[in-house]
């Protein structure tokens, strides 16, 4: 495997506590400044660890796009080939295949800058007008190795009236360490639908950074879910810009960290046009000594009259050593809008727990019932039951319910 090693700390110093957006996730002290980036594919199953399956959701009938340590792995992939869908990894694109559809993402934040600097590969995915892609596309990232870093960037464009479901799933083998830095730019055309599920299920000691930047045109719909199943240190950034009238954005998330894990979700919903609806629900259960951050910004710009924005973040701190820092930020510049938000941090409902136990349900099963109920509203809008069940199964397996 050929590898490129670099030290980024001088040109792109990781954020410290002094930066407001990184105050509760000061990464600078933790991160190894030297990174190794692989420049070759994994050579099929030969380079693939046994502990991780190439297809992360076995029951889901889906197209599969596999990357190992950031590089496209053709022999394990199954790309859609049909009229109206262009799905091409950058490494397979000839010189002429230019990426002419970026959504205007230009924000120079640390995650994005790092990604721009070291990008190896990624997927260019274009759904043409009125095309409804028949199966979900699962993009599976595997990190495997000691101190490896990967920097994928995916571009997604759904034209007017199109429909697409993408799952971005990241895995890491238990022996792994290093960094995953994923960037995703999507634009959803008029009346189009994008369902996007982002799942982090990484073993080992990988720093996981991701940034999704999504632009919605008029009457488009976004359904976005961010699930952190497992991950030593995770930072998810999601930014949604409503740029046309009557958009609908649903974005939910769940995290149930254990041990000393850290999970940070930063979201921004920017309503710049009228008649938009957004609904955000993030729920977390903090176990062990885990730490968490939720920061949800909602902007309603002066032209965004008749916006209806809902935001909720609900947390259960299950163990004494765990903690979560949650902060909603609403900035409303239009007058005819409906906005509501709420952040709560609490414990398991002991009355409910006793009620269940008093009927003969043991503590573990009772807690599982309460957790399932707690997560139900987050999961209910996931686009396929197979994925929904697999996520619940992984949580259940991990927590031993």
């Amino acid at each position: 495997m050929s590898v490129f090693t670099d030290n980024f700390s001088a040109t792109l110093p990781p954020p410290t506590r002094k930066s407001e957006r990184w105050k509760y996730s000061p990464i600078a002290k933790l991160l190894n400044k030297e990174i190794s980036i692989s420049t070759e594919a994994a050579q099929g199953m030969n380079g693939w660890p046994e502990s991780v399956l190439p297809n992360p959701v076995l029951n889901l009938d889906a197209y599969l796009v596999v990357f190992k340590n950031g590089v496209f792995e053709p022999t394990l992939s199954d790309l859609p080939v049909s009229d109206g869908v262009d799905c091409i990894p950058f490494s397979k694109m000839d010189q002429s295949g230019s990426l002419d559809f970026t959504n205007g993402y230009h924000q120079k934040e640390w995650i994005g800058e790092l990604n721009e600097t070291y990008r190896q590969d990624g997927l260019s995915l274009h759904v043409h007008r009125n095309v409804k892609v028949d199966r979900p596309i699962v993009i599976h990232h595997l990190t495997d190795g000691n101190n490896v870093a990967s920097f994928p960037k995916h571009l997604i464009k759904v034209d007017e009236g199109g429909e697409l479901n993408v799952v971005v799933w990241s895995s890491a083998s238990d022996r792994s360490s290093g960094m995953y830095n994923g960037l995703l730019e999507a634009s959803i055309g008029p009346n189009a639908l994008l369902s996007l599920e982002k799942v982090c299920n990484e073993g080992g000691k990988v720093f996981h950074f991701s940034h999704e930047h999504i632009v919605q045109e008029r009457d488009s719909k976004l359904k976005m879910h961010t699930f952190t199943i497992k991950g030593d240190w995770v930072r998810n950034e999601l930014e949604i810009i409503s740029r046309g009238k009557g958009t609908d954005s649903v974005f939910n998330g769940a995290y149930l960290p254990l041990g000393a894990e850290h999970v940070d979700n930063h979201t921004t919903m920017d309503h710049t046009s009228s008649d938009g609806t957004s609904s955000e629900l993030y729920r977390g259960i903090m176990y062990g000594n885990s730490t968490g951050v939720f920061n949800g910004k909602v902007f309603v710009r002066p032209d965004a009259q008749k916006t209806n924005a809902f935001q909720q973040n609900t947390n259960i701190v299950a163990d004494r050593g765990a903690a979560i820092n949650t902060k909603p930020e609403l900035e409303i510049y239009a007058d005819d809008v409906k906005c509501s938000h709420g952040c709560t941090v609490g414990q398991f409902d002991l009355d409910a727990l006793f009620y269940l136990k008093s009927r003969g349900i043991d503590e573990k099963a009772a807690k599982a019932l309460l957790v399932e109920a707690f997560l139900a509203d987050v999961l209910s809008s996931v686009s396929s039951t197979e994925l929904c069940e697999e996520i619940m199964r992984l949580y259940t397996e991990r927590h031993g319910w």
């Binding site: 002991l350 009355d351 409910a352 006793f354 008093s358 009927r359 099963a365 019932l369 109920a373 139900a376």
Partner: protein, 254 residues
């Protein structure tokens, strides 16, 4: 069946049960009456295994088993059932899934395999008709958005589903209109059998016109201060509780 001997329990520094003794034989129905704040709900919760209350003395024996040594769920599996004074709402957990988990928990304890879907639904039908529980309520989340009366009927429905050995009903009559009271009483009476014992906690004599007790006890200030037959309930209705209280220990404030 049940032997409570000199039971003492507290919350924080607040001693609530102060040496309570009671024996209940198979098939018997004991009513426990008493003023607000005398410790009736505490007794019920301690028997069911709520660990909010600290047992500081005494013993509770159920058919040779030391009940105080068991977790709440284990007690339920041994046949203890508590109908709550204030049933808990659990959004997101369906009433039916809840009952299935409870039944299967009990069955696993007895070495039985999970109940078949068909048998389960039949049992649900039978038990819900017993207390005239609306089908829609069975399908909803546990007690969520139920009226006071519906919650109480749901408690009796659960009791019928779980067929306990010892059922403790904590003010099941409170908040019920006369029709609902009749329905709930009918359900309880249908459940009475020579093997099943009841402790029925109530504030009013009214319930005991429908559910006729074998014994009536008065709980005051954490102790049983008087016991008698069903006629004691009528006497209490007439005279109130004041004549039974020990003046030096009068702490009723509820």
């Amino acid at each position: 069946m049940l032997k409570i001997n000199n039971l003492c329990a507290k919350v924080g520094d607040n001693e609530i049960l102060k040496g309570l003794s009671l024996e209940v034989k198979p098939g018997e129905l004991h009513a426990i009456m008493g003023p607000n704040g005398s410790g009736k709900s505490t007794l019920a919760a301690v028997l069911a295994g709520r660990d909010l209350y600290e047992v500081t003395g005494g013993s509770v024996d159920l058919d040779g088993i030391d009940l105080l040594d068991l977790e709440a769920s284990e007690r339920a599996r041994e046949g203890v059932f508590l109908a709550f004074q204030y049933p808990i709402e659990i959004p997101g957990v369906s009433n039916l899934n809840f009952m299935k988990a409870a039944l299967n928990g009990k069955r696993a304890h007895r070495g039985l395999e999970p109940i078949k879907a068909k048998d389960f639904l039949e049992k649900v039908k039978e038990c819900s008709s017993l207390v005239e529980l609306d089908g829609r309520l069975r399908d909803r989340s546990v007690n969520e958005g139920f009226s006071g009366g519906e919650k109480k009927r749901n408690e009796i429905f659960q009791m019928a589903m779980l067929e306990p050995k010892l059922a403790i009903l904590d003010e099941t009559d409170s908040g019920l209109d006369i029709d609902a009271l009749r329905v709930v009483s009918k359900g309880v009476n249908a459940m009475r059998s020579p093997e099943r014992s009841f402790i029925v906690i109530t504030h009013y004599q009214r319930l005991l016109e429908h559910i006729v007790p074998d014994f009536v006890h008065v709980l005051s200030n954490g102790k049983i201060v008087k016991s008698g037959g069903k006629e004691l309930a009528l006497e209490l209705e007439e005279k109130g509780y004041d004549w039974l209280k020990e003046p030096s220990h009068d702490t009723s404030n509820a």
